[in-house]
């Protein structure tokens, strides 16, 4: 009897990216343990190779979409889009980290392994069609993230960041798991399509209180992971304390994966009660935007400012979640991809500029950057303009599509308030530009370090991509709308 559950070759092909990443991660740990220290430079190339292979496997897997492993996973367009996104983010994150790790004298072997494990978790999060798999994927990704946030363990800021992230993150996952238990108790299943069918067929008014409690508990877990208000308090402390390349990674890849599973669960399983959860997401989106933008106005630390900016951007994506329409899903996909590129690029500049031991993290340390490092300054300008949402950058069309979807879903007030928010946001991004180009460099001139080739590649690559998306948005939007297919 059990042999009939042997996964078929077809299913293994659909699961190939995760298999490759797992094997590579495990192999990396063996190599890290037994290899001579002088050869360990090759581990990075190995990690990159594994990620590239997984990327190819993810694309190939979509030739034959469908469920795998008794419908625990589903390889649909939505899953493929986010799989490619999170693996792509990981490749850029690896490229953007090596110089930093070498500068801080950290042993990078476990770093690559943890990044690979984190990607396995994220990839499972976006392909899961079932609550248990979602939980396990989320936990793998989270545990790897906690350790990455404290990777330089002799640095007190790193330890603080890892500890806060771990304690609050575990607490939030507890809420999520409790929600899963409630859903299972109510519907007798953890399969998203079956939950949807059960909720659609039952008399909702009869058990609304319990469904509401279950949805609310899961919302707490998801909102924490995407740093949406009122569960965003951890983000500034964690991103500020974590190593800069880790902050870049955390605020792009895992966040996109968390939004993907948020969308899948709420739009697939909880769709029958959408009119009940919509006001909550609506309010959370608004508060997230306001908290992120207004708190960012007062920051003097660049990393903390970027953390609040990342909260604000999570708020815009929450607007897309609140629409729960196909248009909204497309807009969220577009936005998350554009934001990941911009964010990774901006953090690449920060990674280089903070200097050894992250001593130069204040905005005033950027003074005169335009004269000192014209390339970095120019690229940072592009990223900041994209974060503001200036036309001809990816960020502009991201916001444009989200607010268009919101208007189509008749969320008029949310659109108006969101647009006002992006106007506020322009202030703090422009302030950095002013400091960079208008102010004389102070006594921190010596914080210039030659940028390595890999970091330069990340920087220029994401800047070009941001501009290309901004000039020809249909390139990405066509992909998003073609892939915004949620398997049911």
């Amino acid at each position: 009897m059990p042999a009939s559950f042997m996964p078929s070759a077809q299913e293994m092909m659909r699961f190939l990216p995760e298999t490759l990443l797992t094997l590579a991660g495990v192999f990396l740990m063996v190599l890290e343990a037994i290899m001579a220290p002088e050869n360990k430079g090759r581990l990075k190339a190995f990690a990159l190779f594994a990620l590239a292979a997984a990327l190819a496997a993810a694309v190939i897997a979509y030739n034959d979409p469908g469920p795998a492993f008794n419908r625990l996973l589903i390889i649909d367009g939505f899953a493929t889009f986010f799989r490619v996104l999170v693996i792509g983010v990981a490749i850029l994150a690896v490229l953007g980290s090596s110089q930093y790790l070498a500068r801080e004298g950290a042993n990078p072997g476990e770093y690559w392994a943890l990044v690979l494990f984190s990607v396995v978790g994220q990839s499972l999060m976006v392909t899961s069609n079932e609550l248990i798999m979602i939980f396990i994927g989320l936990e793998i990704s989270s545990i790897a993230s906690y350790v990455l946030a404290g990777y330089l363990r002799d640095d007190a800021r790193n330890s603080e960041s890892a500890l806060k992230y771990f304690l609050l993150g575990s607490f939030a996952t507890g809420f999520l798991l409790y929600g899963v238990a409630w859903i299972y108790g109510l519907t007798g299943t953890t399969d998203l399509s079956q939950i949807r069918a059960d909720l659609a067929n039952r008399d909702i008014s009869n058990s609304m209180m319990m469904i509401g409690a279950a949805c609310a508990l899961m919302f707490v877990g998801f909102a924490f992971k995407v740093s949406a208000a009122p569960f965003q308090v951890w983000a500034p402390d964690v991103y500020q304390g974590a190593p800069s390349p880790v902050a870049a990674f955390l605020s792009s890849g895992p966040k996109a994966a968390a939004f993907a599973m948020f969308l899948r669960v709420f739009v697939t399983a909880f769709e029958p009660v959408a009119d009940r959860w919509e006001p909550i997401v609506w309010a959370s989106a608004l508060v997230t935007m306001i908290v992120g933008n207004f708190a960012a106005l007062r920051q003097t630390n660049v990393k903390r400012l970027m953390a609040y900016s990342s909260i604000a951007h999570a708020g815009y994506v929450m607007v897309a979640v609140a629409t729960h329409s196909k248009l909204g899903i497309e807009a969220a996909m577009f936005y998350l991809a554009a934001y990941a590129l911009t964010n990774l690029g901006a953090f690449a500049v920060i990674t280089c500029l903070v200097g050894k031991g992250e001593r130069f993290v204040e905005i005033k340390d950027l003074a005169g950057l335009g004269a000192r490092q014209p390339l970095s300054a120019a690229m940072l300008t592009i990223f900041l303009l994209s974060l503001i949402g200036v036309p001809l950058t990816g960020g502009f069309f991201g916001k444009f599509y989200i607010f268009k979807a919101a208007l189509d879903a008749r969320l008029i007030w949310l659109t108006v308030l969101g647009l006002l928010n992006s106007a506020v946001a322009a202030y703090y991004y422009l302030r950095i530009l002013v400091v960079m180009y208008m102010e004389e460099p102070g006594d921190t001139v010596e914080n210039t370090q030659e940028m390595g080739g890999a970091l330069k590649f990340v920087l220029v690559g994401s800047a070009v991509a941001t501009l290309v998306i901004g000039t020809f948005p249909s390139l990405l939007l066509d992909v998003a709308s073609r892939y915004a297919v949620l398997g049911r």
Partner: protein, 118 residues
């Protein structure tokens, strides 16, 4: 409910009564001559040097955490052990994959000196 647990209910009172009865009988027959040195803590026959409730090194903690991780592993092996025959070679293969990945973790921790005692 407790059909299969009857032996336990027979065993339980015996287990509880055994130490009580032995200690009680011992109290009846033994001579009682307490002295201060008899009440001291026994530490290899030498007088205790300091309070045993001092602080321990953090290394114990790593060992404890690793113990919990491998404890969780045991919990997953338990159902397999119960259904070992029915699951056959398919089950063996599944568990082999599961264990292989965890053994890598063990090897890594060993090589990194997590079990070394300074």
């Amino acid at each position: 409910m407790p059909d299969g647990y009857l032996p336990i209910f027979v065993f339980l009172p015996v287990a509880i009564l055994f130490p009580v009865v032995t200690l009680f009988v011992a109290k009846l027959v033994r001579p009682s001559q307490p002295t201060p040195s008899k009440l001291g803590a026994y530490e290899c026959g030498i007088e205790p040097a300091s309070n045993s409730r001092g602080r321990y090194t953090v290394r114990y903690y790593i060992v404890a955490i690793l113990f919990v991780v491998f404890d969780v592993e045991t919990v997953f092996l338990y159902p397999w052990a119960v259904r070992y025959k029915q699951l056959g070679w398919f089950g063996v293969a599944e568990v082999a994959v599961f264990l292989a990945i965890l053994i890598v973790g063990y090897v890594w921790a060993y090589k990194k000196g997590a079990f070394e005692w300074v």
